[in-house]
């Protein structure tokens, strides 16, 4: 009897369960466990058969499932400031017990960080490495005031890749597996393209995809970027979107009158409230930097190309690049307006934002509003303020439409 084909929701649940199983059976199978940041070049770790866990992803999951407070409290009890990023605070609190009733990741044997999103992770992981007495490897992708990565940046990153290979060989006690590395690259590239293809369905008008679903879909793009099953999953999403498109249907059951760009990280503890508020105001979120952010593509077996792909991530580019990325998102997805999350936890995404907002508006004249929030700390967000700002955006959008 043939196995019944799973839909994307069922497949996601199955793949997530398999991923967690792999993580927790790693030691039984003689594998090492690494903690890394979201856009770390995982290809090097997969090549060495290291299982990879993502504390930022854990933070998002616990945030969405209202399970962060005990860890934020535990972190503050250690003497850390409550002004620190809430992902960090959650991670530093969680590593004191490795115990949550909601979701867990295993204790790492090694921790690695790439500075292509957040500079503060350098410190967070430094603290974790010292607390857990484990090795810590950094891949530094310098900030790019020039717009994007320079040849000198790439030389330096390639030099660090070489040193990381040496350190991983020492850590695992065996030579680097270049053949597997090549295979993982091929798979990762397939995942990147499949993710982009699936999420680009938001560009359709009306959109068959409910943009908020990207926040759920992206978990595998974060955690399992080197697996064929992840590419299959995104291919399945694309199939489902194509089917909806052909039927003229959408996952989004509200009115798609206003197409909105969501700037910044989600407010995980209030996803539902954010969604309902926008829906009640006839808004569909379709613009986001996630489709481009998690599409890490490069030339096969070309180490400089990998270095460039990981270096050229949006958060570490110049202000002009930040502006261009947002203008492109709004243009490609036909956004009517934008919601900017002034995220108390994320300085790199919040501190250039006032200049970005202004420049994007000057270019496209699309209305926008800001709201104060925090990616994980429920105390950093006010539902009432969000509602008021979304209503104001709707009024501005309606006024703009009349003009």
């Amino acid at each position: 009897m043939s196995e019944e084909k799973l839909n994307s929701k069922q497949l996601l649940a199955k793949l997530q369960a398999e991923y967690m199983d792999d993580l927790y059976k790693a030691h039984e199978r003689g594998q090492k466990i690494a903690w890394v940041n979201g856009l770390f070049p995982q290809e090097f770790l997969e090549a060495m058969d290291i299982q990879v866990a993502y504390p930022e992803n854990l933070a998002a999951t616990l945030g969405a499932k209202k399970g962060v407070t005990p860890y934020l409290d535990a972190c503050e009890a250690l003497g850390y400031s409550s002004d620190l990023c809430s992902y960090t605070r959650l991670g530093l609190g969680y590593q004191e017990s490795f115990q949550s009733d909601i979701s867990n990741i295993p204790r790492p044997d090694i921790i690695l960080n790439c500075t292509n999103i957040c500079g503060l992770c350098v410190k967070w992981f430094e603290n974790t490495a010292k607390r857990l007495q484990i090795p810590y490897i950094l891949i530094d992708t310098p900030f790019q005031p020039e717009y994007d990565a320079t040849e000198n940046d790439i030389d330096y990153i390639v030099g660090q890749f070489k040193d990381m290979i040496r350190q991983l060989e020492e850590f695992c006690g065996r030579p680097f597996d270049y053949e597997k590395f090549s295979r993982v690259m091929k798979t990762s590239r397939r995942v990147a393209k499949a993710w982009k293809r699936a999420t680009d369905y938001v560009q359709n008008m009306p959109s068959p995809m409910d943009g908020f679903n990207m926040f759920n879909y992206m978990i595998l793009a974060v955690c399992c970027r080197g697996k064929e099953s992840t590419a299959d999953y995104y291919d399945l999403i694309a199939e489902e979107m194509e089917e909806l498109l052909q039927k003229g249907e959408s996952q989004f059951k509200g009115n798609q009158r206003h197409r909105i760009m969501w700037e910044g990280i989600a407010v995980w503890p209030y996803l539902g409230q954010n969604y309902k508020t926008m829906k009640a105001n006839d808004m569909i979120m379709i613009g986001s930097f996630y489709p481009a952010e998690w599409c890490v593509d490069y030339e096969q077996d070309d180490i400089r190309s990998i270095a460039r792909a990981y270096a050229n991530r949006p958060p570490i580019g110049s202000l002009q690049r930040q502006i261009d990325v947002r203008c492109d998102i709004m243009k490609c997805t036909n956004c009517d307006g934008a919601l900017y999350h002034v995220n108390r936890s994320c300085k790199i995404l919040s501190f250039m934002q006032p200049a970005v907002r202004k420049a994007v508006y000057e270019k496209n004249h699309k209305p926008y509003v800001t709201f104060d929030g925090d990616q994980t700390d429920p105390g950093g967000f006010s539902p009432a303020q969000f509602e008021t700002r979304v209503q104001a955006l709707r009024e501005n959008l309606e006024a703009a439409a009349k003009e």
């Binding site: 250690l78 003497g79 850390y80 400031s81 002004d83 620190l84 990023c85 960090t88 500075t115 957040c118 500079g119 503060l120 350098v122 410190k123 967070w124 430094e126 603290n127 490495a129 010292k130 090795p135 810590y136 490897i137 950094l138 891949i139 530094d140 310098p142 900030f143 005031p145 020039e146 000198n152 940046d153 030389d155 330096y156 390639v158 030099g159 660090q160 070489k162 040193d163 570490i316 110049s318 202000l319 002034v342 108390r344 300085k347 790199i348 919040s350 501190f351 250039m352 006032p354 200049a355």
Partner: protein, 384 residues
């Protein structure tokens, strides 16, 4: 010169920055701003330009900076932005900017809007600074910076001029290190405020003059007897001890700073530029000597070890962590520093400050209580 005259000249430099910059411009010199945290001042000196520290302003009222930063940005960056909007840096020809934390990365971009006439020169430090590829990277970056400075100043930076600049800055560093040691040997010989002005003035004077004054001042301090001192030998951590009212409060309650690892003070001069094949390579290798720097990748996280060792060397009685609000870098390190210091049996106070703070009564109360706590502990120890 008398000790008081030397200090007065240095204090004058700290209090009259705009006038000094204006004078330099009148002399036909170019002026290059040096923003936090580490910038290659040697290249500026070798180019014949005047390097001037850009470290924000004390007690600045913020209004315009909110156009660029939300309220949870550190006050040093906020005040630099505010001053840049008000034209304070109008006489500065170019500014060297670093990206050693996310807030500084953002300021390196927004300052181009808040002060559009100010030419930016980016200094891109490699976080992975121990690797040879990082030195090669830094050499290329510094050569780019050198070319940009040559363009701004119209002067060629030669091996010889750079060598002389490095020797001059190393000479000044040696004198500052000697000065720090003397103050640890003779607590109370200068006020905390004077100590700060002497150190800070290097950012606002001709380096040759500063080195000369430092050497003279050290001679005077060496000649002086050890003063009677029954106060508290204090070690200070953090970004800076500004506004200076904080230093006055320390003086008032009998604290004498015998050591520091402040970004604006000791961390500016604690490592010499080493020998190397070329002068630029020497500058690139300076970073390799650093141990336990909070703003650079530190896989073993040694800042707290370095602080503990220094506290022991200077026989500190107590530690003050002057935590600049919203400085994540220090917020990540404080619990480790606290634990290391307490393991030595020393008390530590975490004092949250802002460069723009206008009221000091809260800080005064906390520092007064801290002094009383330390003194009563010492008295209890003596009686037991």
């Amino acid at each position: 010169m008398e000790k008081s005259e030397i200090i007065r000249e240095m204090q004058h430099a700290v209090a009259h920055i705009r006038e000094t910059v204006h004078e330099k411009k009148q002399e036909g010199k170019k002026v290059i701003g040096c923003a936090p945290i580490f910038v290659p001042e040697e290249l500026v000196i070798a180019s014949g330009a005047f390097p001037v520290g850009i470290w924000g302003g004390q007690k600045v009222s913020l209004s315009g900076s909110q156009e660029y930063f939300p309220p949870f940005a550190c006050s040093v960056v906020q005040s630099i932005t505010e001053l840049s909007m008000k034209g304070t840096y109008d006489d500065v020809d170019a500014i060297m900017l670093t990206s050693l934390c996310d807030t500084l990365k953002c300021m390196s971009q927004t300052i181009q809007l808040s002060a559009p006439k100010l030419q930016p020169i980016f200094i891109k430090h490699p976080q992975n600074y121990r690797l040879e590829c990082a030195v090669e990277y830094m050499v290329k970056e510094l050569n780019r910076v050198k070319e940009e400075l040559e363009e701004v100043t119209g002067n060629k930076i030669t091996e010889e001029s750079l060598k002389q600049a490095i020797e001059l800055c190393n000479r000044d560093r040696r004198a500052l290190l000697r000065f720090k040691k003397l103050l640890a040997e003779k607590p109370g010989i200068l006020t905390n405020h004077e100590r700060h002005d002497v150190i800070k003035s290097r950012l606002y004077m001709d380096r040759e003059r500063h080195a000369q004054l430092m050497e003279e001042l050290n001679e005077k301090l060496e000649e002086e007897p050890v003063p009677a001192f029954d106060g508290i030998r204090l070690y200070v951590c953090g970004v800076m001890m500004e506004p200076v009212e904080l230093l006055d409060i320390l003086d008032e309650f009998g604290f004498a700073i015998v050591g520091d690892e402040l970004v604006q003070e000791s961390r500016q001069f604690r490592y010499m530029v080493p020998e190397g094949l070329s002068q630029v390579e020497r500058l690139a290798r300076q970073i390799q000597q650093i141990r336990g720097e909070a703003f650079l990748y530190d896989p073993k996280k040694e800042r707290d070890d370095v602080i503990a060792e220094e506290c022991k060397d200077v026989r500190a009685d107590a530690v003050l962590f002057s935590l600049m609000k919203f400085c994540d870098t220090d917020e990540y390190d404080y619990p480790w520093v606290r634990d290391a210091v307490q393991a030595m049996g020393l008390p530590i106070l975490n004092l949250e400050i802002e460069q723009i703070m206008q009221s000091f009564e809260g800080a005064r109360t906390r520092l007064q209580a801290y002094a009383e706590q330390i003194k009563s502990r010492a008295a209890a120890r003596q009686t037991s």
